[in-house]
């Protein structure tokens, strides 16, 4: 990934209108959680086979085929009623070797003419069972127009935990006032009793000139101010909730949420190396060659509340990719997209996505938040060292499932002897400096 420092400073006012946005978000959210329940029920009727089929369809076929729309290849809904495809054997033969099949088949020859002489790519690696699964999926897929189905597995976002700071603050204030009043009352009572007993009273001092109060106030101020200063200093350079405006309004909610595109379809690097990688423009075009308008999804809003024209954003992508929509070909005049980098770690930190995703089997959401509900992405975690370390303290290692850990004989023995029940990242050295700093 090419990342460089820009001399310009971020002057976008991303947080100013957050309250307006949050109103929109919550309505949209409740609408979709409703939808999610409806579809979760309807999904129960679909076989597991079809679910697998859907995954394979998205991976292998969706680049050129849609269920209901003619793309590079024909729309596939109801394909079993067309041509020779009622016979699965022929379907296998075609998918495994289209060039061979077409020679003796007038139907596919016709298709070839219809699609400007383009013949489908061979998928020799698909097993017959997998092709069956795809066919089942195509047969049982829900009809269009019902909006995007939401994966029933996706946990419905929890209501944000109520923030009690204000309550505690108010309570403290009330208690402080009561204490102050009681002190005053006490002083007055003492004075009255002194008067009664004839003890000569000292000149009364108003509470704001009382040295005790002043000292207390200064100490309180020092503590509060010091805490705030240190917190502020610690937070320097951190960017939690950073949500810059991107060159293209790209909604993760539409892609990963509503359309259920796997995170790893685009962020391929997450399984292979340090960087999850932002997909190159050609990956976007795999789908967007066909999907050229945004019509069916929900209304999208920018941070300032203005409505986003989804179709116009797709045209922006075409501009970057150098895709001539009319001629359906590349002009060769593309340019890479300069995304604004949101998650930044200092240079002296080594972080490897594949370590966490493949070995640690962490969900993307653990660190990136409910990304499937964000339109433009914001930084969910503060990415501080304390945050890393806390997770390493608590997270349990896949100790018995990964043969690598067989070298930790001592821990295996301790588990057998019931001395410990699990091994955390900390125990295998996850808090040591040179796990991340070298």
């Amino acid at each position: 990934m090419v990342a460089y420092f820009c001399s310009e400073r971020d002057t976008t006012t991303s947080h100013k209108l957050l309250d307006i946005m949050s109103y929109h978000r919550s309505t949209v959210k409740s609408f979709f959680s409703g939808l999610a329940i409806v579809f979760a029920l309807s999904f129960l009727s679909i076989s597991v086979n079809a679910q697998e089929g859907k995954a394979i369809f998205n991976q292998k076929c969706a680049t050129c085929h849609s269920l209901d729309k003619k793309l590079v290849g024909p729309a596939l809904r109801g394909m079993e009623e067309r041509g020779p495809w009622g016979d699965r054997k022929k379907l296998y033969a075609w998918i495994h070797n289209p060039a061979g099949f077409i020679a003796n088949d007038p139907y596919t020859q016709g298709l070839k003419n219809e699609y400007n002489g383009v013949v489908m790519t061979a998928f020799a690696d698909l097993t017959e069972a997998q092709i069956d699964a795809i066919a089942d999926y195509i047969k049982n897929a829900p009809p269009p127009g019902g909006g995007g189905p939401t994966n029933p597995d996706t946990p419905v976002a929890k209501a944000p935990e109520s923030d009690n700071t204000l309550l505690f603050g108010v309570l403290t204030l009330i208690l402080a006032v009561i204490a102050l009043t009681l002190l005053q009352v006490n002083a007055n009572l003492k004075k009255m009793s002194d008067d009664k007993e004839g003890v000569p009273a000292a000149e009364p001092v108003p509470f704001y000139r009382n040295k005790l109060y002043i000292a207390l106030a200064i100490i309180a101020l020092f503590v509060v101010g010091g805490y705030a200063t240190i917190q502020g200093a610690v937070g320097l350079g951190r960017q939690q909730n950073y949500e810059p405006e991107q060159p293209i309004y790209y909604s993760h909610k539409v892609h990963a949420g509503i359309n259920q595109i796997s995170c790893l379809y685009c962020h391929t690097g997450a399984q292979e190396g340090k960087q999850a990688t932002i997909p190159s423009v050609n990956v976007c075009m795999n789908c967007h060659m066909a999907i050229n308008e945004y019509t069916k999804g929900p209304e999208l809003y920018r941070a300032d509340g203005s409505v986003v024209n989804g179709t116009a954003e797709i045209k922006k992508l075409y501009e970057y990719a150098g895709w001539d929509e009319g001629k359906q070909q590349y002009t060769g005049k593309g340019k890479p997209i300069e995304w604004v980098r949101i998650h930044n770690l200092p240079d002296h930190v080594y972080f490897n996505h594949s370590q966490h995703v493949v070995v640690g089997q962490q969900q993307c959401q653990t660190c990136h938040g409910s990304i499937t509900e964000m339109d433009e992405v914001k930084q969910f975690s503060d990415l501080s060292m304390g945050w890393c370390v806390n997770c390493h303290r608590e997270t349990k290692v896949q100790f018995n499932n990964n043969k690598f850990y067989s070298i930790y004989e001592k821990f295996h023995e301790d588990i057998r002897n019931k001395k410990i029940d699990s091994v955390t990242v900390e125990m295998i050295g996850g808090l040591e400096c040179q796990k991340c700093h070298y």
């Binding site: 292979e272 997909p279 340019k335 200092p346 070995v359 043969k403 690598f404 295998i428 040591e432 040179q434």
Partner: protein, 1056 residues
């Protein structure tokens, strides 16, 4: 007389006052802050000022860091190449080719940038090892050299810089082609062994008849080539098999350092010297030489002589072995004895002896061939199948060319990878000659001494940018493929030749077509590219028919050679700089010479006796303070002033000067003007170059001084002597258990209850390593001191270059140094009773580390895997750790040498003012492309040190975790281990009983295994294997006192 002592410098040997002061302080000067001022406490209002500074800097930092974060961009590819994942390294097989040298390498490419090269262990050309030389390791830096010419240029006049030529070169090509047609064309190159290039050259000369191709090697081997032609009928150099030889005799050949294919020889040499401790045996290496060379330092027995006596020695040896020659009498008794011993050993080991000679005199080489013939080496230790083709230059061809140039007989001179204006012995003649050629075109990569005299310079790309091939040994072809696109507007010189001979093919296409056709298809070609070579599955050994007709004549000519009247001069190459072509490489310039430990210079090496004769006192002023006297010698009648270094083991009447220094402006910022150019001293009177001069007179101390930045007084042990362990082979056979006994004694003394020295003899808790525990074993018997590991470490870990001025202040940053110990009789430090031991010293990763306890911020601490970790961002630079390190391996970053900070002022400080040009060159954006992105670039004010290449360990563990296979971490190699051609360094997980390092320590070599300073109970994770020397001379430190006293001493040290 029997007593020996290991010492690194004279201060240590004599325990002088200056030396005591030097070792007292870890750092030789105060913090720069305190240096030039009276001290903060004397300032008028220090407290107020301090508070002001604190307030201001806090506010400034808050403003700089807090208010606005910079917007960072992430720019993915438009069209990502399919097999590329950002952040994941790719490896390409290619071939290092420089001045004829051929080394198949694997280049590591991170995000499009080659950052590291290592040997290709599949190829016979590397001897099937990954180890390489320091020069190969550093070649990746040359790719990013700022002095490379970035476009084709025209030299308008000698006063102004060359002018950039337009993008389209067609008009120029036509003009040059027309000029070529006019008159005799000469193509002057270094040795070319690329089959395709040779074909292009022959096609080129078919088009321009009357021309010729002259191959010219900066340091010539034409004597060997001609001798082999005379005796074996082949103008080639055979393949030597040092592993098959039981007796290795080298007469002035630096075969472990700079002689021919030395990395392969070093690996074979180490193989023959591997000790099987049950039945200890090893080859015997005898060295005859005038100076102390790297190879001589490793020899079992060493005999010193004047360079002019080389022929006499060879003749005497030949005569002793039964050759029918009459040998001149030698005056030196020791030398005579040496020849007797050598002859006897060679006679005992017929068919298992090997004699090599570094002389460039064809007559001497003929006699050496005769010796090898008599000892049965031909076909046994000398293999004539697949001979070496890395040097092909013949001296008189070059002499003829210079003559023709001066006679105006050359129309056009084309120069590729040759620089005679710098390294021809009579460079002036070449310089005047080249002016007389009608046209001169250079393909060199920079405006060097020769290019500056040419009309046009059309730079050739670096090998890492190139397609190409090389046939280093006949029948073994290595292929080059680019690892990065051309950084600059460079064009293959082959493309130019093709264009000018009327073909429109680019060399790239020509090359691909050639091999696709030859190998019979694209897929075979792809496979060959992936392998990096085209070689037969097995190699054969062959002998060659010897023709002794030339021996008698050669013998008579050799015996006529006269010795010099007084002093003689030896010209040698350093293992780092070599011929000087890579003089602008700061890594190589800063690499301490294995023997002299000097950086950034050449000098005259002389013996202690000569120093005394010249009235030079080798006191603290000389040794500790770096000021070396400048001595004037009259060499060939010309006065030459050189700083001297007194080195033990030099012949009393020999001085030695390294070639490859004294480059001019055009070489680049780092290399220009470093040292003295010794090429004009090369004797060119005869048909073959002689790398020694007999006419040296009038040596006198000028009284001037010169500072040489050398590191032999840095990082001292304060007399702790159990650092080096050495035995003679006979002693080791007699008492193989000295080291295990020593360990047992320690356990008995300090671990009385459990007999477990490790756990009981300490107050500190014992570290546990539940998973892996990393450890290293270093075999001192295999280490030749070549320094490849130092450069490999530099490349892998972004170790900064500090420049000569900083080395002088002990600020060199190498994480891995190679300590060179002299061991001699205490009362006789001179001559051939000298043993030299090389000991790689790096962070020992002590399990009971003294550095960790004293860090106030716990920036250095211990990991469960046995690593002594260093968290740079936590370090506040107190340097307590460095003070407390018994091995002196911690380095303090004094001045942001790598340019890591955004504050330029961090590179300036009082005392230095400005860093050297070399450091600034390393800070250039182009040069910084060589940095390894997986390793933090340290900034000013932190301690750094060897990390055991933790980035590689983490990567190996991640791979093992991903594929759920713990055995995969057995493959992990540190950079130094990978670069070591002799296999001296072995790294691994000592908790794994199948690992090499576990087996070496506990099974295979446990009798030689020891830890440095074991008695102080720091529990290092690096173990050493003691050096074994195959000699009858006494070796090793003899017990000075009774055993009891020694124990008491150890006791004291462990508590003190």
């Amino acid at each position: 007389m029997e007593q020996k002592k290991y010492w690194q410098n004279l201060g240590e040997l004599n325990d002088t006052e200056g030396y005591q002061k030097l070792v007292k302080d870890e750092f030789q000067e105060d913090l720069p802050l305190l240096e030039d001022r009276k001290g903060l406490l004397d300032a008028k209002a220090p407290r107020r000022d301090f508070l002001k500074y604190v307030g201001f800097s806090t506010a400034a930092a808050a403003v700089a860091a807090g208010c606005e974060m910079p917007v960072r961009k992430s720019i993915p590819y438009l069209n990502k190449p399919e097999n590329l994942t950002p952040g994941v390294a790719q490896y390409y097989a290619t071939t290092y080719v420089a001045e004829g040298d051929v080394v198949p390498v694997i280049a590591k490419v991170r995000d499009g940038r080659p950052i590291k090269v290592d040997g290709n262990d599949g190829s016979f050309m590397t001897g099937k090892i990954e180890g390489t030389s320091a020069r190969v390791q550093s070649s990746v830096l040359d790719l990013y050299d700022t002095a490379r010419l970035q476009w084709p240029a025209e030299v308008v006049s000698s006063n102004e810089p060359p002018k950039e030529l337009p993008l389209v070169l067609d008009p120029l090509d036509k003009k040059i082609a027309a000029e070529l047609a006019n008159g005799p064309v000469v193509l002057l190159t270094s040795t070319i062994n690329s089959p395709t290039t040779k074909k292009i050259i022959s096609d080129f000369f078919a088009k321009f008849p009357g021309g010729r191709h002259v191959q010219y090697d900066a340091v010539s081997y034409s004597g060997m080539l001609q001798a082999n032609e005379a005796t074996y009928g082949k103008r080639v150099i055979p393949d030597y098999k040092f592993n098959k030889a039981k007796v290795i005799v080298s007469i002035g050949a630096d075969f472990l350092g700079t002689w021919l294919n030395s990395e392969e020889y070093a690996s074979q040499y180490a193989e023959g010297r591997t000790i099987n401790q049950e039945n200890p045996q090893m080859s015997k290496h005898i060295q005859f030489e005038g100076m102390l060379s790297l190879t001589g330092s490793n020899a079992d027995d060493r005999f010193i002589h004047r360079p002019s006596e080389t022929g006499a020695i060879v003749l005497n040896l030949l005569a002793k072995l039964g050759g029918s020659v009459s040998a001149p009498a030698l005056s030196d008794d020791k030398l005579k004895k040496g020849i007797d011993i050598t002859a006897a050993l060679l006679n005992e080991n017929k068919g298992a002896g090997l004699v090599v000679c570094g002389s460039n005199d064809p007559d001497i080489q003929i006699l050496v061939n005769a010796i090898n013939e008599l000892t049965g080496a031909n076909g046994a230790t000398i293999n004539w199948a697949n001979p070496l083709q890395t040097r092909q230059g013949i001296d008189n061809e070059m002499d003829q060319l210079v003559k023709d140039l001066n006679d105006g007989k050359v129309g056009t001179l084309l120069v590729y990878e040759a620089n005679p204006a710098y390294n021809y012995h009579n460079a002036e003649a070449f310089k005047t000659g080249i002016q007389k050629a009608k046209l001169a075109v250079s393909f060199n990569d920079r405006v060097d001494e020769t290019s500056a005299l040419c009309k046009y310079i059309l730079p050739h790309p670096h090998y890492l940018e190139s397609w190409g091939d090389a046939e280093g040994r006949a029948g073994l072809i290595s292929l080059q493929q680019p690892t990065i696109d051309h950084l600059f507007r460079t064009r293959y010189f082959q493309t130019s030749l093709l264009k000018w001979s009327g073909s429109d093919t680019d060399y790239e296409d020509y090359f691909k077509n050639h091999y696709v056709t030859q190998l019979g298809g694209q897929s075979a070609f792809d496979q060959a590219l992936q392998d990096g070579f085209i070689e037969p599955k097995e190699l054969t050994t062959a002998s060659s028919a010897f023709n002794g007709a030339a021996v008698a004549d050669a013998a008579s000519r050799v015996s006529a050679v006269k010795a010099g009247a007084d002093i003689e001069l030896v010209l040698y190459q350093k293992v780092s700089i070599g011929s000087g072509a890579t003089a602008n490489n700061p890594w190589l310039q800063e690499m301490p010479d294995p023997v002299s430990r000097a950086t950034w210079d050449n000098y005259a090496m002389i013996s202690y006796k000569m120093a005394a004769d010249l009235g030079i006192k080798l006191d603290d002023h000389y040794e500790v303070e770096y000021t070396k006297p400048v001595v004037e010698f009259t060499i060939n009648g010309k006065p030459v002033k050189l700083p001297i270094l007194a080195i033990p083991g030099m012949h009393d009447k020999v001085i030695a000067v390294a070639l490859g220094y004294g480059r001019e402006e055009g070489v680049g910022r780092a290399g220009k003007g470093v040292g003295y150019n010794a090429y004009p001293l090369v004797d060119g009177k005869g048909a073959a170059r002689k790398y020694y001069v007999t006419d040296v007179t009038g040596a006198k101390n000028t009284g001037d001084t010169y500072t040489i930045a050398y590191t032999q007084t840095h990082n001292q042990y304060e007399g702790r002597k159990e650092v080096v362990r050495e035995f003679s082979l006979a002693d080791f056979k007699k008492q193989p258990d000295v080291l295990p006994h020593y360990r047992q004694e320690l356990a008995e003394d300090f671990a009385k209850k459990t007999n477990n020295f490790r756990d009981e003899a300490t107050l500190y808790p014992v570290f546990e390593s539940p998973g892996a525990h990393w450890g290293m074993s270093i075999d001192l018997n295999a280490c030749t001191g070549c320094g490849a590991c130092t450069i490999a470490c530099t490349a892998e870990n972004n170790v900064p270059v500090v420049g000569k001025n900083e080395v002088k202040r002990s600020h060199e940053m190498h994480w891995l140094r190679i300590d060179r110990y002299y061991a001699s009789y205490r009362d006789n430090t001179e001559g051939d009773n000298l043993n030299v031991v090389f000991m790689p010293m790096l962070c020992q990763h002590c399990d009971n580390a003294p550095c960790e306890n004293v860090c106030p911020v716990s920036a250095t601490n211990h990991s469960t895997e046995g690593l002594n970790q260093m968290a740079y961002n936590r370090c506040i630079g107190t340097r307590y750790c460095a003070n407390n390190c018994p091995f002196k391996v911690r380095r303090f970053n004094w001045a942001d040498y790598n340019g890591a900070d955004s504050f330029g002022d961090n590179q300036h400080f009082s005392g230095v003012g400005k860093l050297d040009e070399a450091v600034l060159q390393m800070n250039d954006d182009l040069t910084r492309m060589v940095l390894n992105p997986d390793v933090t670039v340290r900034s000013r004010g932190v301690i750094e040190k060897c990390s055991f290449c933790v980035q590689r360990l983490q990567d190996a563990k991640l791979k093992a975790k991903k594929s759920q296979d713990p055995s995969l971490i057995r493959d992990v190699k540190t950079a130094c281990m990978q670069a070591c051609s002799t296999g001296a360094i072995v790294f691994g997980n000592v908790n794994d009983k199948e690992s090499r390092v576990y087996k070496l320590r506990n099974v295979e070599q446990n009798r030689r295994m020891y830890y440095a300073l074991e008695m102080i109970h720091v529990l290092p994770n690096i173990s050493y294997l003691a050096k074994i020397r195959n000699t009858d001379r006494p070796v090793g430190v003899k017990e000075e006192h009774g055993a009891e006293e020694k124990k008491a001493e150890a006791h004291e040290q462990s508590h003190g």
